[in-house]
């Protein structure tokens, strides 16, 4: 009886980690699995649990054909445990263990550190699913609905990935943490998710697109750094997660881009030249560009907070221990130890944001944030081609990094998007120009209506240039009634 269960269970979990031979971890995952399904049903997408969704499922880690597309009911999605292939003779690429063979088990002295990193990363995955659970009701198209669910099930799989590492490598502690990942709830005052940005509401689809552009990009940077890890299973896990994460950022970037496109097209058609003529633009049933800028400001600032304090002992420990590297560590031309190096960090000196040279090991959060900012800047530049091509004079910009911060050096000062420190009165007077107001939210909410006909798109967003899996935009990506 047990054997049958084991076999059938194992076949339900696509994996390349030899789960069927690893009875201890298999048993742990078996125990965890029902709780996960309960969590998915309770906190996963609201409604649509019986709908057939055209989803890709990771089935392999090979370069060709790692995913396969098919209709699936979300609770039956085959969440798998997949690690990128093991590289032979891989060594720890940075820190004080530089050049030693990469670890296949967690060295005892780094147990607490790895546990903390896995739990924090793991906690974000279900957190974002919970934040987005009600969005299905207002999806602007079946195409977007599918993309939402794809992101959701893959965040779910990323949770599995972290849970596998916790259960495989951290014993009893790991199992407890794995259970607690299912207990916390986004925005719940009693058991909130661990990071602030994952307790914020995702009230509408523009927020969702901004979230996947900005906040999932933080996720990408974190995964990139962990993919460098000297703890090889963590590295391999994160490398595979990155292949999926790319789609999430694609959803965000194209989602915002399509909203910008639709607004610019509508303005052009109506002969409105001034992007700041907000009332006229809104009267067209599209989201005005300044409001999109405000949304971007908000999500960008919240996402910068996710990098933690500019100067951080934890980050230094994680690097020096060989557990968490830098973005593209192996492509950086330096000694990969950083013991005597410095890095410029923007700090608040006598009330003025000032660049201060800081020991490089303690400045790693700052460095990763700088890489993140560069990455965001490229995406913004791509957005800006859209109004330019249509002939609307508007450019999105990123606020300075001291703007609207809750964590780190600038948590206790008011700073304008241009980086000027201002007093509370000035902030209060101008906040509405820089961050979305309740009125902005209400206006966006008024546009959020579900489009459930294949090929139809809500009026505030343009159709995609092409569909998913080389299918057309009017493909029935979600069969709502089955």
């Amino acid at each position: 009886m047990i054997d049958i269960d084991t076999v059938s269970y194992d076949t339900k979990i696509p994996n390349n980690v030899g789960l069927s031979e690893d009875r201890r971890v298999l048993k742990a995952l078996e125990k965890w699995h029902p709780g996960y399904i309960d969590w998915w049903k309770e906190m996963g997408p609201q409604g649509f649990q019986d709908s057939l969704v055209y989803l890709r499922t990771a089935v392999n880690v090979g370069a060709d054909g790692w995913a396969k597309f098919d209709y699936v009911r979300m609770p039956e999605y085959r969440w798998g445990v997949l690690l990128a292939p093991q590289e032979e003779d891989r060594v720890v690429p940075f820190g004080e263990h530089l050049g030693e063979p990469a670890w296949q088990e967690i060295p005892g002295e780094h147990r607490a550190l790895v546990r903390r990193l896995l739990v924090i990363q793991g906690d974000t995955e279900p957190g974002s699913v919970e934040q987005q659970r009600h969005l299905g009701a207002t999806a602007p198209s079946l195409y977007d609905l599918r993309n939402l669910f794809q992101v959701n099930v893959e965040e779910g799989r990323h949770l599995w990935a972290m849970v596998y590492l916790l259960q495989k490598y951290l014993g009893r502690d790991g199992r407890e943490e794995a259970n607690d990942l299912l207990m916390r709830r986004s925005g719940d005052p009693d058991k909130p998710r661990m990071l602030g940005a994952f307790n914020e509401a995702t009230p509408d689809w523009l927020s969702f697109f901004m979230f996947t552009f900005f906040t999932d990009r933080d996720g990408k940077m974190q995964l990139e750094s962990l993919a460098q890890s000297g703890f090889d299973p963590l590295s391999r896990t994160c490398r595979f997660m990155l292949t999926e994460e790319a789609h999430h950022m694609f959803v965000g970037e194209t989602g915002v881009g399509r909203a910008i496109q639709r607004t610019c097209e509508a303005m052009k058609a109506a002969g409105i030249e001034d992007p700041n003529d907000i009332d006229s633009v809104r009267a067209l049933g599209v989201i005005d560009l300044p409001t999109m800028q405000k949304k971007a400001n908000l999500h960008y600032a919240l996402s910068l907070d996710l990098f933690g304090s500019e100067v951080s002992t934890n980050a230094a420990n994680a690097f020096n221990s060989g557990i968490k590297g830098r973005y593209h560590e192996t492509r950086i031309d330096d000694d990969h130890r950083l013991v005597d190096d410095t890095y410029p960090v923007v700090r608040l000196v006598d009330g003025v944001p000032t660049v201060v040279d800081t020991p490089a090991l303690t400045a790693l959060n700052m460095r990763l944030r700088d890489d993140y900012i560069t990455d965001c800047t490229r995406g913004i530049a791509r957005w800006n081609r859209i109004p330019a091509n249509i002939g609307i004079n508007f450019e999105m910009t990123l606020p300075r990094q001291a703007f609207y911060r809750q964590i780190g050096e600038f948590a206790n000062v008011r700073v304008s998007p241009e980086g000027t420190v201002i007093d509370d009165a000035t902030w209060a007077a101008r906040e509405g120009e820089w961050l979305p107001s309740a009125d902005d939210g209400a206006f966006i909410a008024s546009l959020m209506h579900a489009e459930t006909e294949p090929g139809r798109y809500a009026g505030w967003i343009a159709p995609p240039r092409q569909g998913i899996d080389n299918l057309p935009g009017d493909f029935e990506y979600v069969k709502i009634e089955t």
Binding site: E96, E109, A112, R115, R116, D180, M183, R184, P189, D190, K191, P192, M194, T313, A315, A316, N317, A318, F319, N320, S321, V339, P359, L361, T362
Partner: protein, 550 residues
């Protein structure tokens, strides 16, 4: 820099003290930029000596100024963090001497919390609503009841061993097993788990008393505070007295208070502390006491003596020997003792007696050689005689001194020498002095109230050495010079061994282990060496340990 131990709620930078009826709230909201020294920021509600000086002041004021307060809620003014403990960079940069004295003072402050609760019915509730690590958890441990928010992430921890290669410095290890009765194996798990323990497990392991969800934490705090207030015997209608600022003048050669004088001879490394006994009779009634308020001699002298010893400990670190002298009318001193004895039920008298208890304990725990000089005209009677039993030895003048018309030296015991001022071992100084010699203690009891001259005092074992005026100055000079020539470390260790005969209590264990183990660890290269954990902390580099077990 002179560290000043006097402060006032108006000057606090790190704590907020508020009272509402029978509940007081002490909110820790550390000013990052408000460190006592340069070179560190007090992040995450971490503390240095300056933060603790304010706490000690608040605890003291609550007892004298707010008799109506029956429960004190300690909590954090910051989100997601209760207290991260002593600031690591401060510790890493501090001299060994400062660290030791810092730890001693913070321990005395936590003991003062337990004294307020245990002896004066002002109960303490620690409301832990965010990360509570190291010294932060030790602060909570001083409270009667620890209420922890159960939000899935808030932990309590003692990460000193795994993270810093030192020990919790304010009695954490002792209190978990001796006060909270955490099982030793669970205590071992807890004290080596850097990330700490949260939620129900913290209750199961007895690390906290209660957990409450975040959405109902305020409700839980006030319900618990009210329940704790019910258990307090403090009066409902008493009116507090204000503790005014100390009357004191600092100079190059010492400090002059209204009842205490500190004279420094830096070349010989001697401090002479002279306490002048009361000059007027005690008030006729408890009402008269309230009218005198903080001018009442026993209260004034205790506060001044306390400040003087803290000053010596921190600001005059090179002083080897403290000579304790008294002056005044023994009869007036004894009249005050009689007042303190007769009105022991009065809340304010109770607080003053307990303050003397704490001040005398502070003297016991001061790492200097101490000697009492019982001279003609001195006032070693009752409460002030206790000073002669706190020191390492006493010299008493025999017979009249030539050209000195003051009364011959005498020593008089009162009821105050037999109970109200126990040492940290739980015994009176005389019980400790005559440990294992019940007859000697009985003889002392029989001598109560009668002035003892030098020969009687020597016979009773109350004085160490008696000298006439021919030998007095030379003998004392030679003693002091010889004492100052010994190793300061060896003296500190020897004195601590000899002062605390008798049973162990939680308090003696805490100080003994602090002195022995923590201060040992603090000296070892694994902690403070160039490659040690304290020095490497914050750099990201792993410490390089010497692995030899000693």
């Amino acid at each position: 820099m002179n560290i000043d131990f006097e402060t006032h709620p108006k000057c606090y930078r790190h704590w907020r003290l508020s009272t509402a009826g029978q509940t007081a709230t002490l909110t820790l909201d550390v000013d990052e930029a408000g460190g006592l020294f340069e070179g560190y920021e007090l992040k995450l509600n971490s503390y240095d000596l300056g933060v603790d000086i304010e706490l000690a002041d608040a605890i003291q004021r609550l007892r004298f100024e707010h008799p109506e307060v029956k429960v004190v809620v300690m909590r954090s003014g910051k989100d997601r963090v209760f207290c991260a403990g002593a600031n690591i960079r401060m510790l890493a940069g501090a001299s060994h001497g400062h660290k030791v004295n810092f730890c001693k003072f913070t321990n005395e402050t936590r003991n003062a919390i337990e004294d307020a609760s245990g002896n004066s019915g002002q109960r303490y509730l620690a409301a832990v609503t965010g990360a509570c690590a190291g010294g932060g958890y030790e602060l909570a441990l001083a409270a009667d009841h620890i209420l922890l928010v159960d939000d899935g992430s808030t932990t309590i921890s003692l990460p000193e061993v795994p993270l810093l290669a030192v020990l919790p410095g304010t009695g954490g290890l002792t209190r978990i097993v001796d006060k909270r009765f955490v099982r030793r194996d669970l205590a071992d798990l807890f004290s080596t788990t850097e990330e700490g323990v949260r939620g129900q497990r913290a209750v199961d392991w007895k690390l906290v008393d209660e957990i409450a969800p975040a959405s109902r934490i305020e409700e839980a705090i006030s319900a618990r505070a009210n329940a704790m207030a019910e258990t307090s015997q403090r009066p409902d209608d008493a009116k507090g007295i204000a503790l005014g600022s100390l009357d004191r003048v600092f100079s190059d050669t010492g400090v002059l208070y209204s009842t205490v004088a500190v004279e420094l001879d830096r070349e010989s490394r001697i401090a002479t502390v002279t306490v002048t006994g009361p000059e007027t009779d005690p008030p006729a009634s408890a009402d008269g006491l309230a009218a005198q308020g903080d001018h009442f001699w026993p209260l004034r002298a205790a506060r001044e003596l306390d400040d003087a010893f803290l000053h010596l400990r921190f600001n005059e670190r090179d002083i080897a020997v403290v000579q304790l002298r008294t002056e005044g009318e023994a009869a007036t001193m004894l009249a005050h003792d009689a007042f303190l004895d007769a009105h022991s039920e009065n809340w304010l008298v109770g607080e003053i007696r307990l303050l003397w208890k704490r001040v005398l304990t502070r003297i016991d725990l001061t790492a200097r050689s101490m000697v009492a000089l019982i001279e003609p005209g001195s006032c070693f009677a009752g409460t002030l005689a206790e000073l002669a039993f706190a020191v390492d030895r006493s010299y008493m003048a025999l017979g009249p001194f030539e050209g000195d018309n003051r009364p011959e030296a005498a020593l008089t015991l009162s009821a105050m020498n037999f109970g109200p001022y126990p040492m940290s071992n739980g015994l009176t100084r005389l019980q400790t002095r005559f440990l294992g010699d019940g007859a000697a203690l009985q003889n002392a009891v029989h001598a109560t109230g009668k002035p003892q001259d030098a020969e009687d005092a020597l016979a009773l074992g109350l004085a160490t050495i008696i000298l006439d005026d021919i030998d007095w100055e030379d003998e004392i000079r030679i003693f002091v010079e010889e004492r100052a020539s010994f190793s300061a470390d060896a003296l500190t260790a020897m004195e601590a061994n000899l002062r605390f005969a008798g049973p162990e209590t939680m308090e003696t264990k805490i100080f003994g282990r602090l002195t022995a183990w923590q201060n040992w660890v603090f000296q070892r290269p694994n902690a403070v060496g160039e490659e040690g954990a304290l020095r490497r902390y914050g750099t990201g580099r792993q410490p390089d340990f010497n692995t030899e077990r000693i």
